[in-house]
Symmetry: C2
Subunit: 244 residues, 2 copies
C-alpha cells in the first residue's frame, strides 16, 4: 500500500468549501471522484484541514493510500485530466506510512488579500476583499503584535466549532503593501474555525480607526468575540502552505 501526498491549488469561488457535505460540490468530492476514475476504486482522502466556501488554496495538502503501481507523474497527469478547471494537483509525492495530512501538520500559513479601491475591480473580484476605507498600516502592525505568540484565541473563534483547547501559537503576522493591495500573512501551529478571517476583520477595523488596540486587549482578556470586528469575507483568503 502506498501513501501518497498531494498539494492542491483551487479557486474556492464555486465550491461549497473543502469538506464533503450531504449535498453540493466540494473540493473533496470532485477530487475523490477523479481519483476513483483513475484507480477504478473508491479512494478516501485526508486533508490538512477544511476551508470554507469561497476560500482559496495554493498549497492545501491531502493524502490517501492506494494499492497501485501507477507512477506518480501519471497519477498527477491522469487525475488533473479528470478534475474540473477550478482545482488542480500541483505536486505529488510518495510519503512514509506514518504521514497523515492533518495530524502530521506542524505549521500553516494563510494569506489574506485586501484591495484598497473606491470602485469595484472586476479582475480581482472573487480573489480579494475590496475595501473602500483608507487603512493605517502602522496601527494594524502595532495591533497585530498583541496577537503573536502562544495565546487563547477564543475571541477569534467562529461559532459551531469543536476543539479541546483554543490555545494556539501564532509565530508570524506580516502586513505588506504593494500598490493598492494590502496582504496579511499569518503563520500558526493551527487555526480555530474562522480565526484568520476574524483576526483580519478586526485588524481592518483598527486600521480604519473604528476600533483600537485597547478594545483588542480587552477582547483577548475576556475572550469575547462580540467586542471585536466582523468576519472578513472568504474571497480574500488563501491557504498558502502546510509545513510538516
Amino acid at each position: 500500500l502506498r501513501n501518497i501526498k498531494l498539494t492542491l491549488e483551487y479557486d474556492g469561488t464555486r465550491f461549497l468549501g473543502f469538506q464533503n457535505q450531504r449535498q453540493g460540490r466540494t473540493v473533496q468530492s470532485v477530487l475523490e471522484e477523479a481519483l476513483q476514475k483513475l484507480f477504478q476504486k473508491r479512494i478516501k482522502i485526508v486533508a490538512s484541514g477544511r476551508t470554507d466556501s469561497g476560500v482559496h488554496a495554493e498549497g492545501q495538502v491531502v493524502n490517501f493510500t492506494v494499492d497501485s503501481k501507477i507512477p506518480l507523474w501519471k497519477i498527477q497527469r491522469g487525475v488533473n485530466r479528470y478534475l474540473p478547471e477550478d482545482v488542480s494537483i500541483v505536486r505529488i509525492e510518495e510519503v512514509s506510512k506514518k504521514f497523515h495530512a492533518q495530524r502530521s501538520a506542524k505549521w500553516k500559513t494563510y494569506e489574506y488579500r485586501v484591495l484598497q479601491s473606491k470602485a469595484p475591480s472586476p479582475l480581482t473580484r472573487n480573489r480579494t476583499y475590496q475595501y473602500y476605507y483608507p487603512l493605517n498600516l502602522a496601527k494594524i502592525r502595532q495591533a497585530s503584535k498583541l496577537l503573536q505568540g502562544r495565546k487563547d484565541f477564543r475571541a477569534f473563534e467562529g461559532s459551531g466549532s469543536r476543539r479541546k483547547s483554543a490555545v494556539r501559537t501564532i509565530r508570524k503576522i506580516e502586513v505588506k503593501q504593494q500598490g493598492n493591495l494590502v496582504t496579511f500573512r499569518l503563520e500558526s501551529n493551527g487555526f480555530l474555525y474562522r480565526m484568520v478571517r476574524n483576526i483580519v476583520g478586526t485588524l481592518l477595523e483598527i486600521g480604519q480607526g473604528r476600533q483600537n488596540t485597547q478594545e483588542l486587549r480587552k477582547a483577548m482578556k475576556l475572550k469575547q468575540r462580540e467586542i471585536l470586528g466582523p468576519t472578513a469575507p472568504p474571497q480574500g483568503l488563501y491557504l498558502k502552505r502546510v509545513k510538516y
Copy 2:
C-alpha cells in the same frame, strides 16, 4: 453638451469582445445599456479601440457626450450599480469637446502575462497563458529589440483587418520575471489587429528554442506571417493604459 471620459476595467472572459456585434454580450453593449438606464436616453460611446473576446482591460478609455447636469461621482456610482460585476468604471473625467477616445490616443500600453507551470493553475486560469516549456529570457529580450522602433508590422497582423498602413512605432518592449510569472509590456502609437498576441506568440517560440532571431528578421523583411509563431491566446492579454 458635456464630453465625458471613462476609464474601464473589465474581465474579458465572458464577453464576446469589446465592440457591439449583431448578437452576443459585449463590453460596449452592457455599458451603453447601463448609461441608458442612468440618463434615460440612448448613449453612444466611442472607445480607444476594440479588444477581442477573452482579452482584459485595466485602462480601456471611452468617451460620450450627454446633456445632463448629474455630477461626475454620481454618474460613476450610478452606472457602476447598473453594470455587471465583470466591468467597472474606475475613473471619470469631464474633457474638452475635442477629445475623441480613439482619434486622440497617442500611446497604448498592453501587458501579456505568461505563467510558467507544469500543472494547471486554477487561480490564474482566464488571467494568464499557462506555458509548459522553459523559456530563455535572454533570447526573448534580444529578439524583442528587433521589433522596437518605427517598422512595418505586417508580419504580425491578424487577417481580416482594415487599415491604410501597417507602419507602427513600438517604443518599448519590456520582459520581466517575478517567480514563475513572465510579463511582456509593449508600448506603441497603435497596434494592428492581433499584433500583440502575434508578437508574444513568436517571442515565446524563440524563448523556447523552436524559432530563432534569424527567422524573425526574415519574416519582418518579407512581411510574412506564415514564418512566425502562433497567436498567443487571449486570456493573457491586458489593455493597461491609453495615453492622450
